[in-house]
């Protein structure tokens, strides 16, 4: 605390927080809590920044990476608040814990019934944080609502306990004037996606509710009987991943998954032209982290 002015205003805050207590003591408390808070905030921020990308798999689409980024940003944003709670709790354990005989209650603490300043700061900070979270979420969400003029349509049909994919005959104009042609309707049991081509999944179910979850694309939607639900993405990294079922659908829910991969669009075109027989040139698994 350098200037006199700061010294004074600081002391009145301290007075508020702990009336009738010797100032050097409560300055010591605040310093202690501040140090703990600072260390834990730094740890939280570092964990958010560096641990999250290690814990979460490589994603094959912007939506997938948005999920990872959100975890990072929210962890960083929450770190100071979480650290403050932990710091006060830890400090009260380490420093103001009653150390005599535990058989009898210690002397009373100061009769602090609240503090307008502390409550106000807390309220305003948490409100601002919430506004930020909301702003972040809505921005990301609306960015994901963009509908590309032309996209590859894939019908996804869930039934107990398999996923079926149906590629209607279609021509998708790609950026740069090229075209992707599906000459005739194809029924497939595995999901292959051409890289960098917008894709629209029309999802439905023949029996109960399933959850269509192409894991590393970071999107999912339920397959509801009698309904068609739609999700979109642009897979932009090559790699293998798994489509799982994210909604309990009965006996063999656990085994309801298919392999999927994102492949170069020429390979995809050639494969489709050949009647979608046999595997496409296999690419490395993205679960193990390799990318394009």
């Amino acid at each position: 605390m350098s200037s006199d002015h700061q010294e004074v205003s600081n002391d009145s805050v301290l007075d508020d927080l702990a009336p009738g207590l010797d100032r050097s003591l409560h300055r010591q408390y605040i310093r202690g809590i501040f140090v703990l808070w600072f260390i834990m905030t730094v740890l939280g921020v570092l964990a958010g920044l560096y641990l999250t990308p290690i814990l979460m798999p490589h994603m094959n689409s912007p939506e997938g990476r948005a999920a990872v980024k959100t975890v990072i940003v929210f962890t960083v944003a929450a770190a100071p608040v979480a650290a403050l709670v932990c710091a006060v709790a830890l400090y009260s354990l380490l420093h103001t814990r009653h150390r005599g005989s535990l058989d009898h209650p210690p002397a009373d603490g100061p009769p602090l019934r609240g503090n307008a300043l502390a409550s106000g700061v807390w309220l305003i900070t948490s409100t601002l944080l919430v506004v930020f979270l909301l702003f972040w979420g809505l921005t990301e969400w609306s960015a994901q609502q963009v509908v590309h003029a032309d996209s590859l349509t894939i019908n996804v049909i869930g039934q107990q306990w398999i996923w079926d994919y149906n590629l209607p005959a279609q021509t998708v104009r790609l950026p740069g004037g090229r075209e992707l042609k599906i000459p005739k309707e194809l029924a497939l049991s595995k999901l292959n996606l051409p890289v960098d081509v917008p894709v629209t999944f029309n999802v439905t179910s023949k029996d109960v509710t399933h959850g269509f979850w192409p894991v590393n694309l970071g999107i999912q939607v339920d397959a509801n009987p009698g309904q068609r639900t739609v999700i979109r993405t642009v897979p932009d990294r090559l790699g293998k991943f798994v489509v799982r079922c994210s909604q309990l659908c009965g006996l063999n829910h656990a085994y309801m998954y298919t392999q999927a991969q994102v492949v170069p669009d020429q390979d995809f075109q050639a494969w489709v032209q050949g009647g979608a027989r046999g595997p496409i040139l296999a690419v490395a698994s993205s679960q193990n982290g390799s990318t394009k």
Binding site: F74, V88, S92, P111, G114, V130, V208, L248
Partner: protein, 641 residues
């Protein structure tokens, strides 16, 4: 019993001792329940069973309804109503009898109106439910030890996960509102009993009758659809789903009755001087939690009734190809389901703040703000249900609004944290066992809360929904948060409820096993979720093997911790050190009457002059209540249990 017994027998049991209803107990309930269930089964067998579409569903429905009604007639739920209709209301003797006077331990097996007996009965029931739910959890984690385990078949696995979930939800809903809002809360406000003592007994015995149908599900095919029983999967399920629905419908009756009772008690039974602003925070929490239950539970009753109709009578509320919608089920279910998690959480939070205040020797920080925060949480919680439906495809335009309401809840939730750490700040921090659990709550609930905001974010939820991350998140909030706070409350009120001190040495062993086991179990599950493992799966990709092994080992340690705690509780209850009336030198009223608490709670009426948080204050401000005026109208003055 003691020397007063002959007297009691004269006055209480004397001339009317032979009456039929005085012979009623758990045993007659069991007997009549089984009898009516069997009669129902027999009739259904010979009439509707032949209908191949829903004959077996109807049979199970009639059997289970017969059980519930029979049990409740047998135990005495309808006695007062029947006698009143026959033209003779209860007289004073009957009331004394119903309150359990002079019946020793037998009264715990009876339809007893003493709120302390009801509270104790609830406590035992909660232990049993947790033990059942915990055993099921151990079976789940045993199955998940290795990727391709065949310990359980997929069918059994689904049945166990579903009943684990529902059993735990029932247990956590009643874990504080049952034992403590019944035993402690009326004493806290200086009441002689609850406002409706007979309804109080009813709320307990009705839950008891709801438990056998829940367990019966295992014997009629098992519930396949998880505790959320999403339609149309659940409509496809066998008669187990009917048992499940009967459990819920019965349970809702109990929670409703209990909620009304709690609220009316607080509104009408407070001691002189006990203004709203002087009520302990736990009383507020009980009222807010109970009130929220009154909002949430009817939706559950409605949903389950429609479900039974779909299954047993061929309506099609939820069946898409006959014009129904699974989304309708999901909506009605979560309109109940989200408020319900706060019905679980709010009462334990109230208990936690009492513990924090007593052991910090300081007032609850920002008491009024804490009340506002709990009210705010409850109010907002009824507007967030569709955050469980972000990925269902229903009403995509509502993603934004529901993200908003969900994230807004973190503001009042944050205030609860502020109140907790504000209470700790500068406190004397007397670290006894309840406080251990108090600190553990803070840690767990921070993690549960922060992971909750990831899930509230629609783009992130599009990754995490339906995966183990969600499982870890709600265990951090419900088990790590609510149940740990409730455990803090249990350790705190144990001496008052049982009259004995809890063995803290064993308790601390249990604490460390629970604390460490819990982190290992669920941090590993967060990691499973990060990596993309779906929940509710009996087998999994070998990719997820290491963290599942770790999670299972953590779970075994966690469960062992609970068993050690249970041992400490039971052994201390039986032969622990006799507790003084006020072992914590706390100020609220329950600590200022004798232990064991006399019938009608106070020998002298309390007059409240301040709130119970006068720690560190001077003069009269330290004093919560004065005792002095003599009781006017106790039913049996001076009679102790």
């Amino acid at each position: 019993m003691t020397a007063t017994q002959p007297l009691l027998e004269d006055t209480v049991l004397g001339p009317k001792a032979g009456r039929l209803y005085r012979r009623q107990s758990f045993a007659t309930g069991l007997g009549l329940g089984i009898l009516l269930g069997a009669i129902g089964w027999f009739i259904a067998q010979n009439t509707i069973q032949s209908n191949e579409n829903f004959g077996s569903d109807m049979t199970v429905a009639v059997t289970m309804a017969g059980w519930v009604i029979g049990f409740n007639i047998g135990i005495g739920t309808f006695n007062a109503v029947i006698r009143w209709m026959l033209g003779h209301d209860q007289d004073k003797d009957d009331e004394l009898y119903a309150a359990g006077v002079g019946q020793g331990k037998a009264r715990y097996w009876k339809y007893c109106t003493d709120h302390k007996v009801v509270g104790t009965q609830y406590l035992i029931l909660v232990f049993i439910l947790f033990f059942v739910g915990g055993t099921l959890a151990m079976m789940i984690r045993t199955q998940l030890l290795t990727p391709n385990s065949t310990f359980l078949s997929p069918q059994t696995y689904n049945a166990i996960v579903s009943i684990h979930g529902m059993c735990m939800i029932i247990a956590t809903i009643i874990m504080v509102s049952g034992p403590f809002a019944n035993f402690i809360m009326p004493i806290m406000i200086g009441a002689k009993d609850m406002a409706f003592p007979r309804l109080n007994a009813m709320s307990f015995w009705v839950v008891v009758s709801a438990v056998p149908p829940l367990l019966a599900t295992f014997f009629v095919g098992g519930v396949n659809a998880g505790w959320t029983t999403y339609a149309p999967l659940s409509v496809q399920d066998g008669p187990a789903m009917i048992c499940f629905a009967i459990t819920i419908i019965t349970f809702v009756v109990s929670v409703t009755v209990a909620g009304i009772n709690t609220i009316v008690t607080v509104l009408t039974m407070r001691a002189e001087g006990m203004t709203f602003a002087r009520m302990p925070i736990f009383v507020w929490a009980s009222v807010i939690g109970g009130g929220l239950g009154l909002y949430a539970m009817p939706a559950f009753l409605l949903a389950m009734t429609m479900m039974v109709a779909d299954k047993a009578t061929g309506t099609s509320f939820f069946v898409a190809d006959q014009g129904g919608s699974g989304w309708l089920w999901e909506n009605v279910f979560w309109i109940m389901g989200h408020p319900e998690v706060y019905v679980i959480l709010i009462p334990p939070v109230g208990a936690l703040l009492e513990v924090m205040s007593t052991f910090s020797r300081k007032p609850v920080f920002a008491y009024k703000l804490a009340i506002g925060a709990m009210t705010g949480v409850a109010g907002l919680s009824i507007m967030v249900w569709a955050h469980h439906m972000f990925t269902t495809g229903w009403a995509p335009d509502l993603a934004g609004p529901f993200m908003l309401t969900t994230e807004l809840i973190s503001i009042p939730t944050g205030i609860i944290f502020l109140c907790a750490i504000g209470t700790l700040w500068r406190g004397s921090n007397w670290v006894r066992l309840p406080m251990y659990f108090g600190f553990l709550f803070l840690w767990n609930f921070i993690i549960g809360g922060v992971t909750g905001i990831y899930l509230s974010d629609v783009p992130a939820d599009n990754y995490f929904h339906g995966n183990m991350f969600v499982t870890a998140h709600f265990h951090y909030t419900l088990l790590g948060g609510a149940m740990i706070a409730a455990t803090a409350g249990l350790c705190y009120w144990f001496p008052k409820v049982t009259g004995r001190m809890l063995d803290e040495k064993i308790g601390k062993w249990a604490f460390w096993m629970i604390a460490i086991g819990f982190q290992v179990t669920y941090l590993a599950q967060f990691y499973e979720g990060f990596k993309g493992m779906p929940r509710r799966v009996a087998n999994y990709d070998p990719l997820f093997a290491p963290e599942n092994l770790i999670s299972s080992l953590g779970a075994f340690l966690l469960m062992a911790g609970w068993v050690v705690l249970l041992y400490a509780l039971v052994s201390s209850w039986r032969h622990g050190e006799i507790a003084p009336a006020n072992p914590w030198s706390a100020k609220s009223l329950e600590w200022h009457t004798e232990t064991p608490v006399p019938l009608e709670n106070f020998l002298q009426d309390p007059k409240v002059i301040n709130d119970p948080y006068g720690y560190g204050a001077s003069g009269a401000e330290q004093v919560h209540a004065v005792f002095g005026h003599h009781s006017h109208h106790t039913i049996e003055e001076g009679v102790k249990q």
